[in-house]
């Protein structure tokens, strides 16, 4: 029953997502035919392409045709790259996942301990420092910080590589297998490639990590404060348990349950929301793909990308639900 309900909800979500994206795409005052034939095409060529695309049909009919094809797994061809949209997404999505994963790893590994620290030493200098770090992460726009970081670490200090995912030099010597370049490089033992990839990913990954750190550390702090004021903590102290054990074993274990949801949501947020980061760092991922397609009125690609993000979002939610159940025994029986 629950499974059925889940699928109905998911299907409705996707239908709504498609409809909204589709109609927004069609009311944008850009002629998609121009994207195919270019700026300088003669009028009769533009008109012929409009016919071929079915742009002269009523909107609802166009949507119906699109829907029928989408259900059978055909998301059309991208105008810009001339590849099937799904093939494009399979190519660009690993780049986004790689970046978001690095970001989340950095965010969680640093954010959780910092949050715990802030909660334990509440009101101390350490707490204030963590608060300021979080505040900056919350409030400074990523494009500004991204450009600043580029000017400093790339232009001035030359510590990191030029925006992009890999150096032009390696584009010939390196054949990715899975599309997750870092893993592929390790797998093939190409350490110079790995180093180059690392120099490319560290700045955008670090920035995304910082932003998720800001969020995760604030949430950890408040979950931990909540746990530390519980009676079982007092009981544990009374029993003479070491403070380290109380904090890291008892309190954090309980705080970990909602924290998993927070981290999962922040991961999902990075997967769909790194459009700006990808643009600034020329990262050939899903965000940049959708942005470029949107600017070219390449609606098949935009719709396909939106669906991909929807699928990821729904799956991560599902996944964190499952994880929640495993971590919190009380939810299992229900």
């Amino acid at each position: 029953m629950a499974v059925l309900r889940f699928f109905v909800t998911a299907a409705t979500t996707f239908l709504g997502l498609l409809a909204v994206t589709f109609f927004i795409g069609r009311v944008v005052p850009i002629d998609p035919a121009l994207a195919i034939v270019g700026d300088r095409a003669p009028a009769h060529v533009v008109e012929r392409v409009r016919e071929q695309l079915g742009l002269n049909l009523p909107l609802y009919e166009q949507f119906w045709i699109y829907l029928k094809q989408a259900v059978s797994g055909d998301f059309g061809t991208s105008v810009l790259t001339t590849n099937p949209v799904m093939a494009d997404i399979a190519r660009v999505f690993p780049a986004t996942i790689e970046l978001a994963t690095i970001g989340t790893i950095i965010g969680a590994l640093l954010g959780v301990p910092l949050g715990v620290l802030a909660a334990v030493k509440r009101g101390s200098i350490a707490d204030q420092v963590v608060r300021v770090i979080g505040l900056i992460g919350y409030s400074v726009p990523i494009f500004w910080l991204g450009l600043l970081a580029l000017v400093l670490f790339y232009a001035r200090l030359n510590w990191v590589a030029y925006p992009g995912r890999i150096d032009i030099v390696y584009e010939y010597t390196f054949t990715p297998i899975t599309g997750f370049y870092l893993l592929d490089a390790i797998w093939q033992g190409q350490w110079d490639v790995f180093w180059d990839l690392f120099r490319h990913i560290i700045l955008p990954g670090g920035l995304l990590g910082y932003f998720s750190l800001a969020y995760i550390s604030r949430m950890t702090r408040s979950f931990m404060l909540n746990e530390l004021s519980q009676e079982y903590v007092v009981a544990a102290r009374a029993k003479g348990l070491s403070e380290t054990r109380i904090i890291w074993f008892h309190a954090l274990r309980n705080a970990a349950v909602p924290l998993v949801t927070v981290i999962a949501l922040s991961y999902a947020g990075l997967l769909e929301g790194s459009v700006l980061t990808e643009t600034i760092f020329s990262w050939p991922g899903l965000g940049l793909y959708i942005t470029n397609s949107l600017q070219n009125a390449d609606m098949n690609a935009v719709l396909g990308g939106t669906i991909a993000i929807g699928v990821v979002f729904v799956s991560i939610n599902l996944f964190s639900d499952v994880l929640y159940r495993t971590l919190d025994p009380r939810t299992r029986s229900r």
Binding site: D31, L34, A35, D39, R40, E51, P163, I168, F249
Partner: protein
Amino acid sequence: MIHSLHKSFRVLSTSAAFGLLLAAAPQAFAATPADTLVEGFAIDDIITIDPGEAFELSTAEVTANCYSKLVMLDPSDTSKVIGDLAASWTTSDDGLTYTFKLKPGLKFASGNPITAADVAFSFERAVKLDKSPAFLLTQFGLTGDNVADKAKATDDATFTFTIDKPYAPSFVLNVLTATVASIVDKKVVMEHAKKVEKTADYKYDTDFGNEWMKTGYAGSGPYKTVAWRANEAVIMEANPNYYGEKPKLKRVIYRHMKESSGQRLALENGDIDVARNLEPGDLDAVQKKGVLLTSAPKGTVYYFSLNQKNKNLAKPEVVEAMKYLVDYDAIGATLIKGIGEIHQTFLPKGQLGALSDNPYKLDVAKAKELLAKAGLKDGFTVTMDVRNTQPVTGIAESVQQTLAQAGIKLEIIPGDGKQTLTKFRARTHDIYIGQWGSDYFDPNSNAETFTVNPDNSDEGKSKTLAWRNAWDVPKELSDASKGALLEKDSAKRAAIYEDLQKKVLATSPFVIVFQQTEVAGYSPKLKNFKLGPSFDTNFVYPVSKD
């Protein structure tokens, strides 16, 4: 497992911190490889690299380096044409038949020999596909039905081309230097051809390899295209079978970079060898760091045009007043410094008959007088569609200020390029600011679009710039323009265009502001890096590296 979480946390966070520190270790900088030229270039206009379909400026540069044509512009004097694949050619007495003899022993990159049959096939393919640039060939009377007859191989080395009117030979040959006249490898193309359904407007059961050619390659130029990835890169490699002088570098990479500032950073750090889209501010900056600059005027003019459907803009006095309300000197000295020069006539410098008269200057008093005469003493309000890129945004703002001095309130509607163009093509704008690049290196390209409009109704088939601004061109001007096309004597032909430019300058609803100068910054390591007089003459094969 959670039992030991605190330890793992420490280990992991320490290693993450180490990772960050490691990244901070200063690195010897990775320069571009010695056998590769890397250019930073905004190539997002490329939508296909099939020469039978492509009509974009960046694509013209790629195809020019990777394909050969029968004839090409003489790089030292662009008013002349020299042979590329053709060793020689003759014109029949009636001016209708051109016979080309191919050079001996030519080969495509694939190793297949280049024969006159390939030439005929290339013409047939472009005409039958009927994509954006096909009109360049069909204007000579070629159609899908007669092309096999009009463009044919009489033997392996002889190709004859028959046209419908005795056009000026300079016009015919100039058109044959365009991308659409590139010669493709018939065997390779047809191996990749796909069966398609015949429809009412496409009468053939093959796509002539078009789908594959959008990203594929079947040519014979100094370089071959290895890959094009939209909005990412174009990668070319030296063609070992090229008949001419061998390219110096093994590889050329055009890397898509949209922003001037990004290109500047990458050039200064040695990540690219050439930056192609530097704006005036960045040009100054890179020069101070030892980067070299090279420039060449291009066949592109920037203008703003007044839609004659707007009843205020349709008044001749207003049209004239507008030409006095542009601060040409200020624009030339700042906004387009290094990337253009003030130019008010419709033919760009370098083309046959081009005039360099720039009679208009900012003159608010004169403009006010004209507006008063038009009954618009207190001015009026009007909109301008502006694509959000430089230098047009800057120029629009400058014009906004100078128009205000005469009481005209200009509202700028910013938009993305495709958005403003959609509106312009539908004739729903008031004022549009944009650029026009010659379709081929011949005065007729601009003369036609600025001065010919056979049907000014909304259903008009010929959607020239004159049509897009609803300008009902005086018959005298259109006739002069069409007459020049049949004038065999080049000097007389030039004289017709000179006269036409003066009249258009005085009365047309086009305020032409400047001609583009293409400028590139390049690393001092490069030798022989030059820009050509047109986008399809920016050749990279002479470039070498220290």
